[in-house]
């Protein structure tokens, strides 16, 4: 398979689901076909991934570069690790689409949900395959945006969806802002934005630390770590198939996947363990505690996801290649059993018409097939042998025992207690649903769950079991090559096995399971108390209203302020900091002054204009003084033989005068008279002199900068050749620096529209006020 074909395949992995999703969203009909379209697109993406795997693709494919010198490229990093992750996402996606068909039926809502899910899948696949940091960031934000629409799917039935979606969006997008700065910092300081290139030659330690500090908020918010975890349980407002996808293999894994990608790049920083382990521990324990306090099994599962994400972050935070290996296995194991469990919850909900533990019970007799496959999945979650969940937990424990210092003690506490919690809430979940007596008529008369609902979870359950039993094969054909691709070298470690003989991890595992189950027996069906701390959503609401109050206060303080205050603020905020950046001004080389008659005349004209400006009392007179100064400057440009500047300066001067005259008309009769307070006048004088001196200093300092003498020569030579123009000023504006001109033109439009908008808005306001007064 040649390179072009591989590149095309890699692109189609992302493009196929995206196109299918857009088709579904833009079509008016096709409710019935939606499931098939989703299935086929997802299968096709999986097929492309499989073909790439088969071909042994291991390369970076540059598809498109926006502009040479700017960092944004569309390029795919195809290696065994990214392909395996893609296979996970598209494979579970396929099952989710199968399940969605059963869940939604042929409805318009189902079609739009499946369409959005397809676009979400495409962005997730893009995130995994991106080689460019900024392309990755784009996909990262796209997943967040799609999740917003996915969470609001049920907006017609429940009214909490919008708040939940808003929380998820604000938290993850807010966290991504510093991450973007971190990406910019990383690529500017190393000169490349390619993940593969960065991993091949990691930046110096100091840069690693700064970049990591900036990137971490994005990861912490996306992977729902304490204290930014609360959006995840809130996102349970989404229908079950969507939760099954978002909270197993995709959205919440984005942060963990980025951690795995970043480990070879910034993992050497001490910050890595110092931040990730405490955060992960807190998340793991708090998630487990809250899971034990839920009545709704879907919320229980959401909190368990929080807890397990914490576990993954701790493991990755241990920061050794073996820990990365363990975290990778857990990412896969968790995606498989969690997707299956969420889908089973959808089945239970459909059968018993309730998701509350206090109303369920005894379903084991009515739905034995369901009970069996949930048992398999839950066993994997609790880390029981012989499931794949057991393997990964074993690996984490083994890794843990190799380490020593304090942070590792903390990690050990987190992992062990978290695992105990996992066993406890898994028991609560499983036995609460399937054993005992039915606690509501719905549960007692639960309809049998159809195979349409059971197929996808059953497949995942079998996969969990097979993964555990075939540990040797999982290791040899999946985990080992994936870790080698992630880290760039292969680890020589003993193979993964289900049975290693009686050793410390096994003893620990047994202890964990026993303790967890005893906690469940001890608690029975009583939920743990939860109301003693302010919840995340409450804090979020408080934060939002505080932000609005602050904004309102600033607005009220400034809305009635005279223009002078705005001017002062703008000058101080915008002007003085620029001065600091400009370095020493007194070290400039002294150039001899040359005097010419024409120059002196112009200077005299300038002086006259200034005298007029300062001495005249009438506003019109002052404006004319200002205009005189402006024309003098235009003459000065003429003296320096810059005809373009003369033209521009003259026209600008005319327009400024006109605008000043208009503004004076506007101010007639509204100026409260000159301020007589000498203190205020003194302040004004000081400020005026300060700004004047500052601008002179700025001009001088710019003048003192040594410019590269070759630059003008280059432009003189290049302008006729490259741009086919003789006027260097215009050629620079429309060709060499056209991007600057573009942005400036847009600023001009915005500013003018702003003026027009404010004034017409004001008119509108006075008119409506007058109307109201009349009607009263």
């Amino acid at each position: 398979m040649n390179e072009a074909v591989q590149m095309g395949l890699a692109t189609s992995v992302v493009a196929l689901p995206a196109i299918a999703g857009l088709l579904l969203l833009s079509s008016r009909s096709g409710d019935r076909a939606a499931r098939t379209v989703g299935l086929l697109a997802s299968l096709a993406a999986s097929g492309a991934v499989a073909a790439l795997m088969e071909a042994g693709a291991d390369d970076v494919f540059d598809v498109w570069e926006m502009a040479p010198g700017l960092f944004f490229r569309v390029s795919w990093r195809v290696d065994f690790a990214t392909l395996c992750l893609c296979a996970l996402v598209s494979g579970i996606g396929t099952l989710v689409f199968h399940f969605s068909g059963a869940y939604f039926g042929a409805t318009a809502k189902g079609r739009s949900a499946i369409g959005t899910l397809l676009i979400f899948e495409a962005s997730m696949l893009g995130l995994i395959l991106s080689d460019d940091l900024f392309l990755l960031f784009t996909f990262w934000e796209l997943t967040g945006l799609c999740s917003f629409f996915l969470i609001t799917t049920d907006a017609d039935q429940r009214d909490d969806t919008f708040a939940a979606a808003q929380q998820a969006l604000v938290v993850t997008v807010g966290g991504a802002l510093p991450m973007l700065i971190g990406f910019i910092f990383l690529s500017v300081s190393t000169g490349t934005s390619s993940l593969a290139a960065l991993a091949a030659s990691p930046p110096p330690l100091a840069i690693q630390t700064v970049a990591l500090a900036l990137i971490l908020p994005g990861i912490v918010s996306k992977s729902a770590q304490v204290p930014l975890h609360f959006w995840l349980p809130g996102a349970m407002a989404a229908p079950t198939p969507i939760s099954a996808y978002l909270h197993s293999a995709t959205l919440v894994k984005a942060g963990i996947i980025l951690l795995l990608y970043l480990f070879p790049i910034v993992g050497a920083s001490a910050l890595w363990s110092a931040v990730l382990i405490p955060l992960g521990t807190a998340t793991c324990l708090w998630g487990a505690y809250r899971a034990l306090g839920q009545d709704d099994i879907k919320l229980l599962m959401a909190w368990s996801t929080v807890s397990q994400l914490g576990l993954m972050v701790i493991t990755a935070g241990l920061g050794t290649d073996l820990a990365i290996r363990a975290a990778t296995l857990y990412v896969f194991a968790h995606a498989i059993f969690k997707a299956g469990l969420f889908m089973s919850i959808g089945g239970i909900d459909h059968a018993a018409h309730t998701r509350n533990l206090s109303q369920l019970g005894g379903l084991g007799r009515r739905a034995p097939a369901l009970a069996m496959l949930v048992g398999l999945l839950a066993g994997s979650m609790a880390g029981l042998p012989p499931f794949v969940g057991f393997l990964s937990k074993e690996l984490i424990l083994k890794k843990l025992l190799m380490a020593d210092p304090f942070l590792h003690d903390l990690a050990a506490i987190g992992i062990v207690l978290g695992s105990v919690g996992t066993v406890a809430y898994t028991s609560r979940f499983y036995f609460g649903i399937f054993t005992g007596k039915p606690r509501s008529p719905g549960a007692a008369q639960a309809a049998p769950v159809g195979w349409n609902f059971l197929f996808a979870p059953a497949l995942l359950a079998v996969l969990s079991l097979a993964g555990g039993l075939g540990a040797v094969f999982v290791d040899r054909f999946m985990l080992e090559p994936v870790t080698a691709a992630l880290l760039g070298y292969s680890l020589a470690v003993p193979e993964l096995r289900i049975w290693h003989g009686i050793n410390t991890p096994l003893v620990l595992s047994t202890g964990i399971v026993t303790l967890g189950y005893s906690i469940h027996r001890l608690l029975g069906r009583r939920p743990l108390p939860t109301g003693f701390l302010p919840t995340g959503p409450q804090l979020f609401e408080a934060f939002l209203s505080a932000a609005q109050k602050t904004g309102g206060a600033i607005n009220r303080a400034l809305a009635g302020a005279p223009p002078a205050v705005y001017l002062a603020l703008a000058l101080v905020l915008g002007f003085y900091p620029a001065l600091v950046l400009l370095g020493p001004i007194f070290s400039m080389p002294s150039t001899p002054w040359t005097w010419s008659a024409a120059g002196l005349l112009i200077l005299a004209l300038l002086g006259v204009g200034l005298m007029l400006l300062l001495s005249l009392q009438s506003k019109i007179g002052r404006i004319l003084g200002l205009t005189t100064v402006g024309f003098a400057v235009a003459l000065l440009y003429g003296q320096l033989s810059a005809p373009d500047l003369v033209l521009t300066q003259l026209l600008v001067e005319v327009l400024t005068t006109v605008f000043f005259l208009l503004a004076v008309r506007f101010m007639v009769g509204r100026e409260p008279g000159e301020s007589k307070s000498s203190g205020l006048n003194f302040l004004r004088w000081t400020f005026a002199f300060g700004v004047g001196f500052a601008s002179v200093a700025l001009v001088l300092s710019v003048h003192s900068l040594q410019s590269d003498g070759r630059l003008p020569d280059y432009y003189f030579e290049a302008a006729p050749q490259i741009a086919q123009g003789l006027n260097l000023v215009n050629v620079t504006l429309v060709d060499f620096r056209a991007l600057d001109t573009l942005v400036e033109s847009l600023v001009v439009i915005l500013a003018c529209m702003g003026v027009a908008g404010v004034l017409t808005g004001r008119e509108w306001l006075t008119r409506t006020r007058a109307d109201r007064n009349e009607s009263m």
């Binding site: 926006m66 502009a67 040479p68 005809p643 373009d644 003369v646 033209l647 521009t648 026209l651 600008v652 005319v654 327009l655 006109v658 605008f659 208009l662 503004a663 008309r665 506007f666 007639v668 009769g669 741009a723 086919q724 123009g725 003789l726 006027n727 000023v729 215009n730 050629v731 504006l733 429309v734 060709d735 056209a738 991007l739 001109t741 573009l742 033109s745 847009l746 001009v748 439009i749 500013a751 003018c752 529209m753 003026v755 027009a756 004034l759 017409t760 004001r762 008119e763």
Partner: protein, 144 residues
């Protein structure tokens, strides 16, 4: 408060100022001038005509409000950003064509398209802002 003298002067000056704007725009690539200056000239012409004839007849004569010209200019500029991208080149790449043989030949620059956009942005934007200020002061006067 329409002044006869101003109206007659405007009638004289307006065509020439617009002509000057166009010539500045077209010649700008080789001689002093360019889109920004042309835009300023157009804005001055616009302000002159509505101060002379009043807002209403200005707007009626123009038919399209000035802010739409500004938006059109913005669109043209964005086009010259996007079209090269679609053709597989760096954004804002300018193209040149030399048509005809030497005695009668025309130089075509895509930069002129960009420059017209700039001129529309500046001219339309400034005229619309000035117009809004003028309208406000008129109503204030009437109120008083």
């Amino acid at each position: 408060m329409k002044s006869f003298l101003l109206q007659e002067l405007t009638r004289l000056i307006l065509p020439f100022s617009l002509l000057m704007a166009v010539s500045l725009l077209i010649k700008g690539h080789d001689l002093p001038g360019g889109g920004f200056v042309a835009g300023l000239a157009v804005a001055v012409a616009g302000i002159l005509s509505f101060t002379a004839y009043g807002l209403e007849s200005f707007q009626n004569g123009l038919r399209v409000p000035p802010e739409k010209f500004a938006l059109l200019g913005g669109l043209m500029i964005l086009c010259s950003l996007l079209v090269p991208l679609l053709l597989g080149q760096a954004p804002l790449t300018q193209a040149h064509a030399h048509l005809g043989a030497d005695p009668i030949s025309v130089e075509l620059h895509s930069a002129l398209f960009f420059d017209i956009g700039v001129a529309l942005c500046v001219g339309g934007g400034l005229a619309s802002a000035a117009q809004a200020i003028w309208a406000t002061t008129q109503t204030e006067k009437e109120d008083m």
